[in-house]
Subunit: 327 residues, 2 copies
């Protein structure tokens, strides 16, 4: 990681370890309670090297908002990670994905029936942890999960849809990716004792960061990313309308537009250079990079207005890290 | 309905109407909030004529436990109905069922991808309603949902397994069917202000009723039930090891045992009379009827020890109704 001080890098690493330990403890308890194979499957997917970006951000948000009791925010952080992982399991089923974090997906490993139920189990564990929090926080969790579902419907409806607009795209990203970041940061700030208007700035921070995060992910799908273990072109092959592609479809004309449409309809790896040449002519990757910077700046401004201290500084550093992943 | 007074029948009907109205209001709110198709699908399955046995029982439990504020228990009742319906949607996917309550199942109507997410949405709505309750009640909800998942794993492992024991069977039924009845009645009693030991009697009431309810369901699968809209022999055809079949496999010997095993391995409707003759010789339906009576009696005793008044009387009457469904 560049741009972060050694102390900051160590802080992130120690927060990640805390999250890992919290998840392990929860899984151990569930195993002792007789959870059997469903816990083993949950462990397989939960403990396979996630970056813990969400829970770490929520713990930092709590600190930056002036919260003083780590034990008070940890269950919230774990809850969101459990729910996030539940959506990954169900998403992988719907996408018929083969791999997740370098391991075989649950539905391939144990069949779709058990993967479906293991995902449900993860959801339930997440909401179970929410029981200690005020109704307001549970409502934020539930609303964000409902928005994920609504956005997934929209995403399913836009698979292979070449008329998908940038607005459709942002709508989906707001619900599916940015929403949980937003709800988690806002909830953490409320638990730290901030007022609603102050906590709203944390929500905006999370939402803007989440949008930037997804845009970076879209760029990495086209540029490749050896460190993520994610092969390039997966979204393209699946017919997912990412913003660079939507932008290129909007800006290209004549032969380029026709070729691009044909490429997206039935993509094969040997046509990669053709695809990239069209994206180059429409300057689509550069356009998305600018958008990333815009959303990261909005996130930073929101954070600066409501949070401070070493935790807030670290969160600002993380924004820079996210922005640098595609350069 | 026999055995219940006209006043009691009207009370049940009015409670059911309250539940229906509560669910409709929740769906309307979600629709206004932009839920779109996912809400339409949830409405399709939620409002297709469920009997509302669970939520009605939980509202009655609250009354029988001395609770005085209907608005305090209603969200709990709705939460359990939403979660129950979520499990039905996901179960139907796993069973590849064609119909639910006389309508096409969601995964056939809108595809497995959307049915999966619609089920998740229903789960989330259920837990969202739990936010207003004490951590203890949310824990009961979450634990019961986790137990459902664990039991569904066991059930999947026992499909077509002729060595399934009565203990395996009861273990699955306790987690999957009886657990939610138990957790809901116990939670309602706690919300009404009862102590833990008193509320435990409501838990036992719910659990014993739930077991009896499942056993009656098993019997109806073999006897048919015109009023349920459920064709006979569905469990048999699916390879579900219901207790009458497990009992018959245990008690039958020689030719009967071999024929029964063969029948269950590949059942066809034309062999129905053969199946029933074997069950008759092992007296399996009668055995399960006795078990139904035993569990209903246990339920009644638990309730009498902790609850009283017209609501408790009505709950006792409902036990009698459940017992009479197979006679």
């Amino acid at each position: 990681m560049t741009g972060l001080s050694l102390v900051q890098v160590e802080r992130l690493s120690s927060l990640k370890d805390e999250v890992d330990a919290g998840l392990e403890a929860l899984l151990d308890d569930a195993e002792v309670a007789g959870g059997g194979q469903v816990v083993a499957m949950a462990r397989h997917v939960l403990m396979s090297g996630g970056k813990r970006l969400r829970p770490v951000l929520f713990m930092l948000s709590y600190d930056a908002a002036g919260g003083g009791d780590r034990d008070h925010v940890m269950p919230l952080a774990l809850a969101f990670e459990l729910i996030h992982t539940a959506t990954l399991v169900h998403d992988d089923m719907n996408d018929d994905a083969d791999e997740r974090r370098g391991r075989q997906t649950l539905h391939l490993e144990a069949g779709p029936e058990k993967a479906l139920i293991a995902g449900d189990w993860l959801f339930v564990q997440g909401f179970g942890l929410g029981g200690r929090y005020p109704e307001r926080v549970v409502r934020l969790m539930a609303d964000c999960c409902a928005d994920i579902a609504v956005s997934e419907f929209k995403q399913l409806d836009h698979i292979d849809d070449l008329t998908t607009s940038p607005e459709d795209y942002l709508d989906i990203v707001r619900g599916k990716t940015a929403g949980p970041f937003a709800a988690g940061c806002q909830s953490a700030a409320l638990l730290a004792g901030l007022t609603e208007p102050q906590a709203l700035q944390f929500r905006i921070f999370g939402e803007e960061l989440g949008i930037a995060f997804q845009l970076v992910d879209d760029l990495l799908d086209l540029r490749g990313s050896p460190d993520m273990g994610k092969p390039r072109g997966v979204d393209v092959a699946e017919g997912k309308m990412t913003l660079p592609l939507i932008h290129a479809l909007t800006l290209s004309h004549g032969t380029d537009r026709a070729t691009l449409a044909e490429l997206l309809a039935s993509f094969t790896e040997d046509r990669w250079d053709e695809l990239m040449a069209i994206l180059e002519r429409s300057d689509s990757l550069h356009y998305v990079e600018l958008l990333v910077d815009l959303h990261l700046e909005r996130a930073a401004n929101a954070l600066r207005s409501a949070g401070s201290g070493p935790a807030a500084d670290l969160m600002l550093g993380m924004l820079t890290e996210i922005g640098s992943r595609t350069r």
